[in-house]
């Protein structure tokens, strides 16, 4: 991973007008968002009169987003759907899918159900966290974000995702050091699972396998596969450090681990050393592989991470997810003024 990614393609040359500019002219927050972020906004049907106010409050948070997240909204999100809690699962705050973001405009209801402080500031923070995390998914998965599968895989490697050593001993034989070789090894294995995976394309680029295959090809259960069998492994069987630790401890409790590791040329000490080298930036990124890179993006915009073993993931995340956007800013600048408000328009968002 010595080459630097190209400048971010979604970087915008246009500036942004702050929300207060629209407010001072008695223009709506929805008009501000549509015009400044090039969005189509729609609202869901809610049974109470306060929904319009709550959906406006959700949109207002976009004014405080980091500039990179604003560019992601402008460049990679085409539609913003503001919906009441009834349109979501009970614990859902927002959903991204290519080109579209759905936001739950009743985050206080989710917070109350899940034991989160439901004060105004905490709930606003919750919703802003959601916006940034979902922007991370857009950056990593929308082809317009320009993040290659190789970079995606590298962020998994530096977050400590590894196969079980009995399934694939190679990552544990490598000297502890630069994870570049491990990234390339796993990409090669992924192409053995499905040769359509192209490391130089984004994960949802045309020609890649369907998006639902990403999680299963990377972290599906490997235990049905027999080492030495002729059939290629259907999955890389990657595990987060915590999941892998649990599996290894279970195998050790059965008393078979040391002998099994010896049979593939490894010692327990080697395995634990490699398995504890890196970890995800938050423990929330331990369950689902596609969340680890998006969590890195969120944490990079949120502040310091206390986990010592997560510092490599942060550093590489900065290099692969933020630096290309900074490079674009340096190269292209913001030479065009922000879109001006249409003063003849009084926007009422359409119904979803």
């Amino acid at each position: 991973m010595t080459t630097s990614p190209a400048p971010a393609p979604y970087h915008s040359r246009c500036q942004y007008l702050p929300l207060r500019f629209y407010r001072s002219r008695d223009l709506s927050v929805f008009q501000w968002a549509e015009e400044q972020f090039h969005l189509e906004i729609s609202t869901g049907l809610a049974g109470d009169s306060g929904f319009h106010r709550r959906s406006a409050a959700a949109v207002e948070l976009m004014d405080q987003l980091p500039l990179q997240a604003k560019d992601l909204f402008r460049g990679l999100i085409d539609r913003l759907r503001l919906q009441p809690a009834d349109d979501f699962e009970v614990d859902e705050l927002g959903v991204w899918r290519p080109g579209e973001m759905r936001i739950n405009c009743d985050p206080a209801r989710v917070a109350e159900l899940q034991g989160w402080p439901s004060g105004g500031a905490q709930v606003r923070q919750l919703l802003q966290t959601t916006l940034i995390h979902e922007c991370g998914h857009a950056l990593l998965e929308d082809p317009r974000g320009g993040v290659s599968l190789r970079s995606f895989m590298h962020l998994l490697v530096v977050s400590g995702w590894l196969p079980n050593p009995l399934h694939d001993p190679v990552p544990f034989q490598q000297p502890v050091g630069e994870p570049t070789q491990l990234t390339e090894h796993l990409l090669q294995r992924l192409r053995e699972v499905d040769s359509r995976w192209d490391p130089d394309q984004t994960v949802r680029a045309p020609g890649q396998p369907p998006p639902v295959r990403l999680d299963s090809d990377l972290m599906g259960d490997w235990r049905t596969w027999q080492p030495g069998g002729e059939r290629p492994a259907p999955t890389l069987g990657l595990r987060s450090p915590r999941q892998l630790g649990k599996e290894l401890l279970t195998q050790r409790a059965r008393g078979t681990l040391d002998a099994e590791l010896r049979s593939v040329g490894l010692s327990a000490e080697q395995v634990w050393r490699v398995a504890s080298r890196y970890r995800p930036v938050t423990s929330c990124a331990e369950d689902l592989i596609s969340e680890a890179p998006a969590e890195i993006f969120r944490q990079l915009h949120r502040g310091p991470v206390p986990w010592r073993a997560a510092q490599t993931a942060l550093r590489e995340g900065e290099r692969l997810l933020i630096q290309p956007w900074r490079d674009a800013e340096l190269v292209r600048g913001r030479s065009e003024p922000a879109p001006r408000p249409n003063l003849k328009r009084h926007l009422v968002p359409g119904r979803a």
Partner: protein, 93 residues
């Protein structure tokens, strides 16, 4: 039996404490242990990601964590670290 040891270090004083999982026993700097205990008694919920199977999208969810679970302990320690400027390390044993 220890399964995981969390080593906690105060960045400003270099005081150290160890929290053991699953027993939640602590040892090390007494003052640091006292401050950590305050964080291990609260319910904890965290923002997490989930794949939206119906639409193929990615959802952000708020999930309350079962007290006593590894997820809960790590979330508690992370919140303490954020408030108290601590550094965290994990050791599987």
């Amino acid at each position: 039996m220890d399964v995981i040891r969390y080593v906690v270090r105060d960045r400003s004083t270099a005081a150290r404490a160890v929290v053991r999982y699953p027993t939640l026993e602590m040892e090390g700097d007494a003052g640091l242990c006292d401050r950590l205990r305050d964080y291990l008694v609260t319910p904890m919920s965290v923002v997490q990601g989930r794949t939206d199977q119906a639409g193929g999208g990615r959802a952000t969810v708020l999930r309350s964590l079962p007290p006593g679970s590894v997820d809960w302990l790590e979330a508690c320690l992370a919140r303490a670290a954020e408030d108290l400027s601590l550094e965290l390390d994990t050791h599987w044993t």
